[in-house]
Symmetry: C2
């Protein structure tokens, strides 16, 4: 049986482009004892992939040249020599940007319940993005009813979930996102206001919309958006750093944050969310998010791209901001 | 009777220079009911003065052109029409850069005990710098025995006190300071190591001295020193922003902090210390510091400059880093 794999061919300078990848067709080898074969159904397109394409080790080693591009995926076990992962179960984990994956189950592969939620949800609302939004907002942000929560990258899966959870907690929610489509979507799912950073001046709009400042700034974007948001912190504000997608394409030329002293004068604090630190609490997060999803209090917006041959185009969409909600490849 | 006053003549661009000030001789007016006359003995030279010389309001309004330069001072009440501040008591507060001050006692003027400690101590170890060091380190930094504490601007009064308090708490203390004189002083008062940022490469020295990272970074300097220190945070590190003396001379061209994402990957946090927030807890801080001073566990290093005509030269020393310990003018 033939596999289709997305291989890292060269390390990108700036934006990852199609020429940095190679689509390889390869015979699937016979399973060893302890291994199982997964037929991937969805591949998760995450900003982290761009970081993993760089040389060297950050919190995990970069992807080797010639290796399958690292990515979360979800699929069905179709053949197994591992009794913990029998054929017929569905699994989620770092299964890679490929049509089929062989795993020994030892590297963070989890069985998921395909009856309880759509399979794709395990890469979004019930996966890493959902857990990031849940623990990032609630544990790091500590939202109180009546507070104003500002979210950059609000049109992405994490941003849109953070906003919806903040609304459930009684906060006023302001999103930063580019374009009318995202604005309309965010207003529809309950955001109180949206600032279109591509067409509006963030600083003056924040003065208008948040005259008393921002109590929580949940940042997925970094760069100038973070620097401007710091000018609008309310007293005691919490800045929660989740990502910096504006900077990932050129980590050698990071935008320096000039207004950090505003954290001091606001009596605020800055910290970050690393979702892996909450592994033992995932059940709590999954239960809450499942409940809200079932109640209709949260919408799980997905942006599906058809076909693994679209992998590099899909990854690019994250950085140009074209996706709305959770970006996935359907194989 | 004649007063000598340091007047703000023009707003500095960059470093404050002698031509930005005027030394004015003026007749002291007769006291109104409720007022008292203070003969200043020491004037405190603080980095904040440079910020107050700019136009506009930050946390307090800037000094008006033509007004006496705002400064903390300590002196004796020599004439009084205010029964709360009778002649013969000693007071501390924003008495200004002048030989004599008239006050109504309503603007943060406190009576101090000239028997309990040398008068100048009320501008240093028992004044704002001492309280800043005490609450900044203990409340914001939360030092634990065995942790490594890194301090920039270690040769100044706040930095040298933070280091000594951290040693009392069982920490390993590394100072950043310029020149041999400061290094010798800091090693003498118990610092475990000192990095001479003027003659050594901070990044490589931190790799050598703090291979397991820094648990608390107490920052008085900002700019590149802060940015480099962020590369060396240990897991769970606390960054306590106290000041940014490297930046105060040109607030229109602040150095942007590129490495803030290291706070995220280190699972750290950043917050600031504003000493005025601890007013109600000053008695606790003063008692602890007095005790340590009496026990010989802390040294109160002062750098005395003779004469109010040296005011602008003294202020400049803060920014060139020439002072060692608490910089004061003795009138």
């Amino acid at each position: 049986m033939q596999n289709t794999q997305v291989i890292l061919k060269s390390r990108p300078v700036g934006m990852a482009e199609t020429h940095n990848f190679e689509w390889q067709s390869a015979e699937i080898p016979a399973l060893q004892v302890g291994q199982f074969l997964v037929k991937n159904e969805y591949i998760s397109i995450d900003p982290a992939i761009r970081g993993w394409m760089n040389a060297g080790t950050t919190y995990i080693p970069g992807i080797e040249l010639g290796a399958v591009v690292r990515a979360f995926a979800v699929g069905e076990v179709i053949e197994s020599k591992n009794s913990d992962f029998p054929a017929g179960v569905f699994v989620e984990g770092l299964l890679g940007a490929q049509a089929y994956a062989i795993s020994n189950g030892q590297t963070g592969i989890h069985i998921v319940d395909a009856q309880a939620a759509p399979l794709s949800a395990y890469l979004g609302i019930l996966g890493m993005p959902g857990m990031t939004a849940y623990f990032g907002l609630l544990d790091k942000g500590q939202p109180q009813a009546g507070e104003t929560v500002l979210i950059s990258g609000a049109g992405g899966i994490i941003g849109s979930l953070v906003g919806q959870i903040a609304k459930i907690k009684g906060c006023r929610v302001v999103g930063i996102a580019g374009g009318d489509k995202k604005r309309d979507f965010l207003l529809k799912i309950g955001f109180d206001a949206v600032i279109d950073y591509k067409n509006e001046d963030l600083h003056s709009r924040l003065q208008e919309i948040c005259p008393e400042g921002v109590h929580i700034f949940f940042d997925n974007v970094g760069g100038q958006i973070l620097d401007t948001a710091l000018l609008h912190l309310a007293r005691g504000a919490r800045v929660v750093i989740c990502g910096a997608i504006s900077q990932y394409n050129d980590m050698t030329n990071i935008y320096g944050i000039k207004n950090y002293m505003k954290i001091l004068t606001a009596r605020g604090s800055l910290s970050g969310i690393i979702v892996f630190d909450y592994l033992t609490r995932y059940p709590e997060g999954k239960q809450a998010l499942s409940q809200w999803l079932q109640n209709g209090q949260i919408q799980n917006q997905e942006h599906l791209i058809q076909g693994i041959e679209q992998f590099s185009q899909a990854l690019k969409m994250l950085f140009t901001g074209e996706n709305l909600g959770k970006l996935l490849i359907k194989i």
